[in-house]
Symmetry: C2
Subunit: 128 residues, 2 copies
DNA sequence: TTGGTTATACGAATATTTTCGTACATTCGT
DNA sequence: ACGAATGTACGAAAATATTCGTATAACCAA
């Protein structure tokens, strides 16, 4: 068993990570406030989750003041990569292209975004 | 609460669904054999999972013979869409484009696949 | 200073998912 | 015909993930 591999975040943890990635540093209160825009949750539930994330090494925290400040440790890119890989593997028979088309087909992208993707594809082709 | 929405498959269930989507019809034994190429698992574990999937309405089965034959009921496309949407939402701040680039960047795609994606993008642009 | 508000810690209840043992029925080869 | 192999059913343990109540400490405003 590989030991130094990143703990895979659960769904709830991912929700929190997103907020931390976005904001940088947050108190539990701030995270909780944002979370409860979308769904019902008790404050201590959020607190507990973040404490567990700390135990797992997903986040670090500054406890020098009464109100602790949390920051994501796990890298957003790396985590996204992990999740995408898993999904490709798990639901798209290993074909990234199929996932890409599925994603593009069902989600509105702006002209700019589409252009960006095309450029990216050109670059990939040249690399090959 | 919405009642007629598809039950979201768990990870283990998804592994099994993939096999069923691929093969069409399968016995528990067949599914189990394929599963255990990748990971350790007891036969009755696989059996139980498939029985649960049946209860949940993810699969149907023909029980006319001793050895039951299972078939996926849930649609592959729809399930993929559901999962992709969730991931975009959950880890990519709602940006499909970002997921797409992540997927393309880290997973080898053939020239043909890249071409297919490009064509697809052209079509999307024209639609806009 | 004192009471209300806002924190953290933490155990424990719930819920969900995964795993497996055991009982029992059917089938098949010899 | 009968024992081994193979199948299903099902309860329940184990592993994970989620939720929350309660104790207690720190802070702040009057």
């Amino acid at each position: 068993m590989v030991t130094d591999q990143q703990h895979k975040p659960t769904e709830s943890e991912l929700e929190i990570l997103q907020i931390l990635w976005d904001k940088g540093n947050c108190t539990v209160r701030e995270v909780h406030e944002i979370l409860t825009l979308e769904k019902e949750a008790g404050y201590t539930t959020t607190l507990k989750l973040m404490q567990i994330m700390h135990e797992k090494g997903l986040v670090k925290r500054d406890t020098s003041a009464k109100t602790h400040i949390y920051t994501a440790i796990v890298n957003q890119q790396k985590t996204q990569e992990q999740l995408v890989t898993k999904l490709i593997d798990n639901a798209f028979n290993g074909s990234a292209a199929r996932l890409v088309m599925q994603a593009l087909g069902n989600h509105q992208s702006s002209k700019d975004e589409i252009e960006a993707i095309k450029e990216y594809l050109d670059k990939l082709e040249k690399q090959q």
